[in-house]
């Protein structure tokens, strides 16, 4: 527990020291939203709710892949080796998952705020939509962190990260979009409980697999 807290603290300190990376990601999501806004020729209010929702989640998907792919590459190999001698593999992967969840939450909330600001906000049940964003941040972070670990071991990991992560994340993305659609239409919250359960179950599968498999990955 103590180890986990120290490792998460380390991730946050590291991010704070390299603020340009964080600012870069924030700028990335804001400019993507703005490009979408301009591409619709300022007629964003004519967008149907389904298009609005789909566009938002595609933006979040690309942001997530970009933001999380750097979680194993921003530190030099020598320093990673040093962490591996003093910490357990489970501690490292869990701290990275928790930290990336927080990062994704910040990025997607910022993205949502700006997106709703320029593209209009047709959401019926705002709290449920925010809960969806929260769940999606955890889900994307947990499945992408492990994939980022795999991709970082290969040479050209930029392209590899995309092709490895897109299929793995699609089941989660579909569930999230369905949940978001329910929140968008302002449906009764009870009707979304099934999706929430499946999303949590998928998260549980991916996190437990990461904990089991990461010890094999980190030594290579």
């Amino acid at each position: 527990m103590q180890e986990l807290r120290t490792l998460i603290g380390k991730e946050i300190t590291l991010e704070w020291r390299q603020r340009y990376a964080l600012n870069g990601m924030l700028l990335y999501i804001v400019s993507t939203v703005f490009v979408c806004y301009l591409s619709f020729k300022l007629k964003a209010n004519q967008l149907t709710p389904i298009t609005w929702n789909t566009l938002f989640w595609i933006i979040i998907l690309f942001t997530a892949v970009n933001a999380i792919s750097k979680s194993f590459t921003q530190e030099r190999a020598g320093r990673l080796l040093y962490y591996y001698t003093i910490a357990s593999p489970q501690g490292i992967i869990l701290s990275k998952i928790i930290y990336n969840s927080g990062l994704m939450l910040v990025l997607s909330l910022t993205g949502f705020g700006f997106y709703a600001f320029v593209m209009g906000n047709p959401v019926g049940d705002l709290w449920m939509y925010l809960v969806t964003i929260f769940l999606s941040s955890i889900g994307f972070a947990s499945s992408l962190t492990m994939v980022a670990g795999i991709a970082s071991k290969a040479e050209n990991n930029g392209a590899l990260m995309a092709i490895l992560s897109f299929p793995v994340i699609i089941p989660m993305l579909l569930m999230v979009m369905k949940l978001a659609k329910n929140a968008l239409d302002g449906l009764d919250r009870g009707s979304s409980s099934e999706e929430v359960m499946i999303l949590l179950a998928l998260d549980a599968i991916v996190v437990s697999l990461s904990l089991i498999l990461f010890p094999y990955l980190w030594r290579s």
């Binding site: 492990m146 994939v147 795999i150 071991k153 290969a154 040479e155 050209n156 590899l160 092709i163 490895l164 897109f166 299929p167 793995v168 699609i170 089941p171 579909l174 569930m175 099934e194 499946i198 998928l202 599968i205 991916v206 697999l209 498999l213 094999y216 990955l217 290579s220």
Partner: protein, 218 residues
């Protein structure tokens, strides 16, 4: 010969399937008509593909436990055969769909799930290609193989059942066994499942032997 009896069984079962699958009597159903014979080819191919991927997963786990490169070879060759069976399954399915559903690739969750899983296993092959060191390639691709299988199972078995699907057994549709298959068909369907599974295993073992000989030659 003692260890090869199952290959003869595979040939016999598939000959039986081919002959009686094409010539035997089948129940007359609206829409399906004669295309119901595809049950002997399309469905067993998917069963065989799932069996091959499961075998590949078992070898991936075995590799991680022992670091023996022989298991890595088996794991990748079973995946290759599974991909081949998957492509054949897609082709037969698309032929069937164009006859019965009027569209070679209807928007159906099961089809899309399968397309995603194929992408996932293609990515597995590309991941393998990006390493030079054998041990490293084996370990990392085994890790990805296990991760991919854990996504594959919910994708194929759980998500299509939650939404409306054209496939039998999904989205409230009854499965074949309840409605469409009579005992006459079962007599051909079950041997077909075993036959395609054995053929897939045979192909994989031949490929593994070729790969091992190649390595010895180097």
């Amino acid at each position: 010969m003692k260890n090869n009896w199952w290959k003869i069984v595979a040939v016999l079962l598939l000959t039986y399937t081919l002959y009686f699958g094409l010539m035997g009597t089948v129940p007359r159903r609206a829409i399906l008509n004669e295309s119901i014979r595809n049950v002997y080819f399309h469905v067993p191919m998917w069963f065989a593909m799932i069996a091959m991927l499961t075998t590949s997963l078992v070898y991936a786990i075995k590799y991680l436990r022992t670091n023996d490169l022989q298991y890595d070879l088996k794991s990748v060759e079973f995946t290759n055969v599974a991909i081949l069976l998957g492509i054949l399954g897609c082709a037969t399915g698309s032929l069937w769909a164009s006859v019965t559903w009027g569209d070679p690739w209807p928007s159906d969750p099961k089809l899309n799930s399968v397309a995603i899983s194929m992408l996932m296993y293609f990515a597995y092959l590309i991941l393998r290609g990006s390493f030079d060191d054998e041990q490293r390639r084996a370990r990392i691709s085994a890790v990805y193989n296990i991760l991919a299988y854990a996504v594959f199972i919910p994708l194929i078995f759980i998500l299509p059942r939650l939404t409306d699907s054209l496939h039998p057994g999904n989205g409230g549709n009854p499965a074949f066994s309840e409605l469409d298959m009579d005992n006459q068909m079962r007599r051909i369907f079950y041997p077909a499942v075993i036959g395609w599974g054995l053929l897939g295993t045979w192909m994989a073992t031949v490929r593994v032997r070729v790969r091992m000989l190649e390595e010895q030659a180097d």
